[in-house]
Symmetry: C2
Subunit: 439 residues, 2 copies
């Protein structure tokens, strides 16, 4: 039997590349919780080298025992380093070069960089396998929530058939704020930017790209599949209006930006979209800058993992958990199975999927509009469960909104109906389709 | 660097003691998910021996490749066994004997037995350490939710200062049902018994003992403390009435049986009590036979883990996750640190704790009752935030109920106030005190 190894006095020698929010957070955590970390790691952890753009800047960090290295890529070549923590960011460039060099040198690589893993996770896992070096990225998904470990190890006995998550805290904050205050998207975004929750260029968050990175990583782990970030269809929350949120609420739903990955019929479907979440679903109660992941396994049933999805503290918590695992020699394969055993799953045709949709049209206030819309639905085979027309109201910017909920049917029919309506002078903007999250 | 080990063809040889719901569930899972389990374990897992009360009974299990052993204790001595899964139940007797013998023989021991671990976890961890043998009990807490691993490894970088959980599915089902239907406790219990959710003798569940077992285990892991089940003060849900649930709801709370363990002031406080949970708290939305655990760490913030807390499938999921870890050689120490490093924490004096309480009196319908109660509160230094007297109503069984919410203050004052009122002919039953869960 292989068993817990006795405590060692051998130091785990760590290099940290990048001393921004993430890197500095990890340095602070290692100092603040040294006793508990070393008790759980069974050996001392020490930061022996750091790299940052400017050496002298006061970051409130005690880096007395560590060498400063100007070029982060050089950290991989430092002899007295066991593991590199990458906190540079970016899917390519220095982060990727450092990952490749570190693993190539047979050293451990720990990162919070979801873009790097979403784009290059498979190649890096292959490199780690070849070099027999640990690769860990708990911090890349859902901040301090140990969902990578929970899916990869905690739920390892299950065939997991679906993963659903609220994976972007900024978007969830904005939607929650819209829900609470009745504000429209633009105002909620501005407020989130003032509060430091949304970035000056918020596209990555509000257009679903960040959530798509995380979803692709979770799907690879949950399904034992080769990571397929390019296969994630992502749309964001820019088009969601206060009126949609109010309408959803009246129907018993809240609107959340949800990533869904499933393997129905043996094909992989990965999508990030704003969805109507029924109030009885655990994700309906996730408010603010929180992340939450639901995984459905064939024996465990529905599991929920929730917590702070970003920020220095939660991200550092995940990075250092990975370091403790490495210190203990308790390393799982990054995606749970050897890279060669990851399945190359076929992408599913979303048109085949059956479901219900909320569809909102903004229309001209003239006779015949409803007739045109309902005729298109009929001709495409979309059955309407309920239809609400709202008058020209000030809060809708003087527009007339028509919202409907469809009966369950193939998605391709809704796509066809909207194609029939494309270019109609009766529609004053592109319709918004929000799927209903079932179960 | 210690790194993931290559796939092995060496079989992990498993013995299963007990073929009731838990043992049979594990056998079924290993057969149903064989491919995914072996891919994640990196080697085959095989059940080579089983033990049960009766050999011949048809349990719908394929046990062709395994020896039947009449005496479960003999499984520990089987030569060709690497790990024993204990599914006998009970804190003492055969389960304890099997645990001691298995670990003593240097073999792995996996169990779902929360009573066994709550009572003997420390001694068994010491035995495991001495024999260099794995001891694992993910299934002992919160069924299929991998919360033992999440706290012990996923949150290992944190000083965890509080763990809060809904740890008994039966009690949560009954309280949820009372909430949904307005039924009183006795009716909801009878219904839960008919539905197979509550046992014929429900005391273990509804009196908080089962939740106390789980809380003591979680506290030991979270705080790195020697397990102290005897230090858990547990009360159950028998005294909760429909009127309390309605009153709580009117105040913006739901009632849940909550286990709370914290280390405020360096002393350990562990309690299982029905509490008023504010609607904004994640535990307020946990309904039915679900378990949920909130852990608060100094870097990760508030983490929530939720899922099915019992049943054959979830329990088997956790047992087999432990087996996969053992197969991989990925064994943590059972409580995160060596047993000798677990702190012997002093028990906190609950009287020192400050908080707010809901207090409900059932009183005689005569003048002066309110004056007596409020005088006792004043004399004990309890400040009343709100007070509601309900008339003699049919749904209250013709009794008069007086409910109040206190301002924040030391618990000892409430205890004193109730002592002043003890024996008063104005009180027709013992008062019910339900703390408000804050934050």
């Amino acid at each position: 039997m292989t068993t817990p190894r006795p405590a060692s006095t051998e130091i785990l020698r760590i290099a940290v590349a990048g001393l921004g929010t993430v890197g500095a957070g990890a340095v602070k955590l290692l100092a603040a919780n040294r006793a508990v970390i070393e008790a759980r790691a069974g050996r001392p952890l020490a930061i022996v080298a750091v790299s940052a753009r400017t050496e002298g800047r006061d970051r409130g960090l005690d880096l007395a025992g560590s060498r400063f290295v100007g070029d982060p890529a050089a950290l991989a070549d430092e002899h007295a380093v066991d593991v590199v923590v990458e906190a540079l960011g970016g899917a390519e460039g220095p982060a990727l070069a450092l990952a490749e060099a570190t693993l190539g040198a047979g050293k451990g690589f720990v990162t919070a960089n979801k873009a790097l893993i979403a784009h290059h996770g498979l190649a890096l896992a292959e490199r780690a396998e070849a070099a027999n070096a640990p690769l860990a990225f708990e911090a890349a998904v859902a901040g301090g929530v140990p969902v990578v470990k929970a899916l990869r190890e905690g739920a390892a006995a299950n065939a997991i058939y679906r993963v659903i998550g609220i994976l972007n805290g900024t978007s969830n904050h904005i939607l929650s704020a819209m829900e609470a205050s009745g504000a429209d998207f633009a105002d909620a975004l501005t407020e989130a930017q003032s509060a430091g929750i949304a970035e000056a260029d918020p596209a990555f968050d509000i257009d679903g790209v960040d959530a798509a990175h995380k979803l692709a990583i979770l799907a690879a782990i949950a399904f034992g599949a080769r990571i397929d970030f390019a296969g994630v269809a992502a749309s964001g929350i820019r088009e969601v209006r206060a009126a949609d949120i109010a309408q959803a609420r009246a129907l018993g739903f809240v609107i959340r930006l949800v990533g869904v990955a499933d393997t129905e019929g043996g094909a992989l479907l990965q999508r990030v979209r704003p969805c109507l979440v029924p109030l009885g679903h655990p994700l309906a109660h996730v408010t603010g800058a929180t992340n939450a992941v639901v995984a459905e396994g064939n024996f465990a049933g529905r599991l929920l993992f929730q917590g702070e999805g970003a920020g220095a503290g939660p991200t550092a918590s995940a990075i250092v958990a990975d370091l403790i695992d490495i210190a203990r020699g308790r390393c799982a394969r990054p995606f749970g199975v050897p890279p060669a055993a990851l399945a190359a799953m076929v992408r599913a045709d979303p048109g085949d999927r059956r479901g219900r949709d909320y569809i909102r049209f903004t229309v001209a206030d003239r006779p015949g509009v409803l007739a045109e819309i309902t005729a298109a639905m009929r001709d495409a085979g979309v059955s309407i469960e309920s239809l609400i027309q709202r008058g020209r109201a000030a809060e809708d910017g003087g527009e007339v909104l028509v919202a409907m909920v469809t009966h369950e049917g193939p998605e391709r029919c809704v796509t066809q109906a909207l194609a029939l309506l494309a270019g109609s002078p009766n529609l004053t903007a592109a319709p918004l389709v929000l799927p209903l999250l079932e179960g």
